[in-house]
């Protein structure tokens, strides 16, 4: 399976993602934001980081970069797109995903492990996943998911909420909400479920020497689903 990771000025999880994808068997290519064509890919990843220094709004400048039109075309033709953290912010800024990631409610940069409950596994990202509660890492200042009430209703009605922040037991409550996100939302899909944006970083949990290996479950499963 071929994957491509887009690098923007200020991306800083692009290499982690490259390592993770290759570890689980993807043939990955790195693509510079100023290119206008994507290599042949089964998966496009917008990595985490601080593209363009988070100027104006997180992800807003990257959302207008040269490569983005190819990403939008790829996504609209049904291609699989994954946006992690800043990648999620970029996806909302391009309009491929609904809503916006606002500043964390407590005005703090949050860097810690959290648990997320997978809400919908009828898609390539989570189908047949072994666990429905994963321990993943978050590191962000703007992860507080917000959308209008109408948009929230349509996300819920179309089963577009990918994952919720939860406790280790999978219970979704205020206590397990790290950043004030509406309804504990950690990640969402587009309507067709071929685009996933989420704040947690699976690529940071792929080795025993890191703080956990639940990210491995995500990548192994994703590759299995794509084969």
């Amino acid at each position: 399976m071929n994957s491509s990771v887009i690098i923007f000025p200020g991306s800083n999880c692009d290499r982690d993602m490259d390592v993770a994808l290759k570890k689980f068997g993807f043939k990955n290519k790195m693509v510079w934001h100023d290119d206008d064509k994507l290599p042949k890919s089964d998966l496009i990843v917008l990595p985490g980081g601080f593209s363009y220094g988070d100027y104006l709004r997180c992800g807003s400048i990257a959302g207008k970069s040269k490569i983005i039109q190819s990403v939008i075309d790829f996504a609209n033709s049904g291609g699989l797109v994954l946006g992690i953290c800043n990648g999620f912010q970029i996806l909302t800024e391009t309009g491929l995903l609904k809503g916006v990631l606002q500043q964390n409610k407590n005005i703090e940069f949050i860097c810690k492990n959290v648990f997320v409950k997978i809400n919908n596994s009828e898609n390539k990202f989570f189908e047949n996943i072994d666990k429905d509660v994963l321990e993943l890492h978050i590191a962000h200042n703007e992860g507080n998911y917000f959308c209008s009430e109408g948009e929230l209703k349509s996300l819920e009605d179309n089963n577009q909420i990918a994952a919720y922040y939860c406790g280790s037991d999978g219970k979704v409550d205020d206590k397990s909400n790290p950043n004030g996100a509406t309804k504990n939302i950690a990640g969402i899909f587009n309507e067709k479920k071929n685009i996933l944006g989420m704040m947690p970083h699976p690529e940071r949990m792929i080795d025993q020497s890191l703080s956990g290996e639940d990210g491995s479950i995500f990548f192994e499963n994703l590759l299995r689903n794509l084969k």
Partner: protein
């Protein structure tokens, strides 16, 4: 032609920075400060002598880049 744009959070959208500023002001003794909303201000120089056309461009600029209309409003002044 110089255009000024102000982008603010829509009413009802949480503004944690504004809230922190308000609480700090209260703590400094400005007890009459009830609420603070923080926004962004842009000075834009548009190569256009017709005010109407410049404002039209500015409006498009705001909609396409400067404001995220999910949570923000803009004013051209």
């Amino acid at each position: 032609m110089k255009i000024k744009v102000i982008v603010t959070l829509k009413s009802g959208v949480l503004d944690p920075q504004g809230k922190a500023i308000q609480q700090t002001l209260n703590g400094m003794g400005f007890v009459n400060v009830k609420d603070v909303r923080q926004g962004k201000y842009f000075d834009i120089d548009i190569n256009e002598s017709d005010e109407q056309k410049a404002k039209q461009s500015a409006e498009e600029i705001c909609k396409k880049l400067l404001a995220n209309q999910v949570i923000e409003d803009f004013k051209i002044i």
